[in-house]
Symmetry: C2
Subunit: 275 residues, 2 copies
């Protein structure tokens, strides 16, 4: 594409940068694409970075050096994150969502890219300065949420299974205790090819009550000699306060249930909101 | 945000539009955000639409009328789609990916947002003129791929399970025959709350050999009185040519395996490429 106007280049560069969060684009890539000098690209990048800064919704960073370039990361203010999470909490608190057995119906929200993308981005920004090598989740319901965190961080997602599968090759398989009184013996497997000793993992799931599954994922990482840099869930229950897994951070808290209206009381976890 | 320069507005509007594919933004939203007249927003939108058109990588459409506004959709030319899919085919054809039992290891590629996002967008553009109400997949491996299609279309994802779960409420459960000779009886369940009679579904999965799971999803949709508007998979095997499910469209074809190098021959499915 030759001889574009600055305004046109700005639009196209913004599209590329925001579509590829956390990926460094070399200036040469844009020089070639638009047939312009590096100084022109540099001015364009400054303009984009300035506009993003004004909006407070994204950061465009320039990295100097041979491997340098420019990179976009989404960014949420405390107010913006609170607004989005409150909206989701409100949806989850609507009457009729309480299921027999005391379960909260969340499947529509946790699989809707509209909601999971924003939640994934809100979580991702906690890890910009300490990037994991991958995001780990356990099948099934937490996958969309975990994938959106992985997308915002530009790292792969690794899915632990309830059992090993022939199409995933050799597996690491562990037994772990779950249930609120550590009374259930479960198994978890991940493909040996998916991870390497010495890596860093971010654990993510949609829901934590006892925390057994999260604890299982922690144990799996220990087994694989991988450091866990965080444990993030979309919703945790208020009770039991002590989860089997340590340091579980949640966007939302399920505070209680009301059998009359078949609803749950879900609120934004104040401890969560970005500074 | 008041008194931004045009170039700054263009950057911020492009970020919003490309971050929310297939969502209509009313002009008033931008008028209020930037404190400018509708005619100014209209000029900005024309500029963005023009730049996108020049790049060939996105379409910005203006919808007139009361519910009108502006909307972004990603767009891949035949060459661009071929380039991306060839790169993925090359990765999947690398030595060492053939597992005992004749399986191809794909988990790293199908769970990497970098690849699944592009594949999801390539598929989505086939359905811009006939939007599904949701994308349906069967747990587990196809979820990231299906979610990215859903994201590009701005529709929810519905996940079918191997069994019903208490936390998904009442379920529709079916039995279906799978296996290459229709010899296996499997079950599939979806939450009754997730779908409604009269809707349109797009079925998506990561892999099709016999096509039994896809057929099961078709039968599930029939059971729920939902029309299937397409069946999309990432990779299908060349043999058997006749799948149990009709009209399966695949981005890639697994043409054969080589036990010497433990590799598979994966190629772009020529029938797939957009016009």
């Amino acid at each position: 594409m030759e001889h574009l106007k600055r305004s046109e280049r700005l639009v196209l560069m913004t599209r590329i940068l925001t579509n590829t969060p956390n990926i460094v684009h070399n200036f040469a890539e844009f020089c070639e694409m638009f047939d312009v000098a590096k100084s022109t690209v540099s001015e364009d990048v400054d303009l984009i970075a300035g506009a993003m800064k004004l909006s407070g919704k994204g950061v465009v960073e320039t990295i100097s050096g041979a491997a340098g370039g420019v990179m976009y990361r989404s960014c949420y203010s405390k107010d913006e994150a609170a607004r989005i999470l409150s909206e989701i909490a409100k949806i989850l608190s609507m009457p009729g969502r309480l299921l027999p057995g005391g379960f909260l119906y969340t499947s529509d929200v946790v699989s809707d890219p509209k909601y999971t993308r924003q939640m994934g981005e809100i979580i991702a920004q906690k890890y910009y300065d300490n990037l994991p090598d991958f995001v780990l989740t356990m099948e099934t319901k937490g996958i969309p949420f975990a994938l959106m965190i992985a997308q915002a961080l530009n790292v792969p997602l690794v899915i632990a299974r309830r059992d090993s599968r022939a199409y995933e090759g050799s597996a690491v398989k562990i037994n772990y205790l779950s249930g609120s009184r550590n009374e259930k013996l479960d198994t978890m497997a991940i493909s040996r090819r998916a991870v390497k000793a010495g890596q860093k993992a971010l654990i993510a799931d949609d829901f934590a009550k006892g925390g057994g599954t999260l604890k299982g994922m922690r144990e799996m990482m220990t087994e694989c000699q991988i450091e866990v840099i965080g444990v993030e869930v979309m919703i945790k229950t208020l009770e039991p306060k002590e989860k089997l897994c340590e340091n579980v951070s949640a966007l939302l808290t399920l505070k209680g249930t009301d059998r009359l209206s078949n609803s749950c009381d879900v609120a934004v976890d104040a401890a969560y909101l970005p500074a």
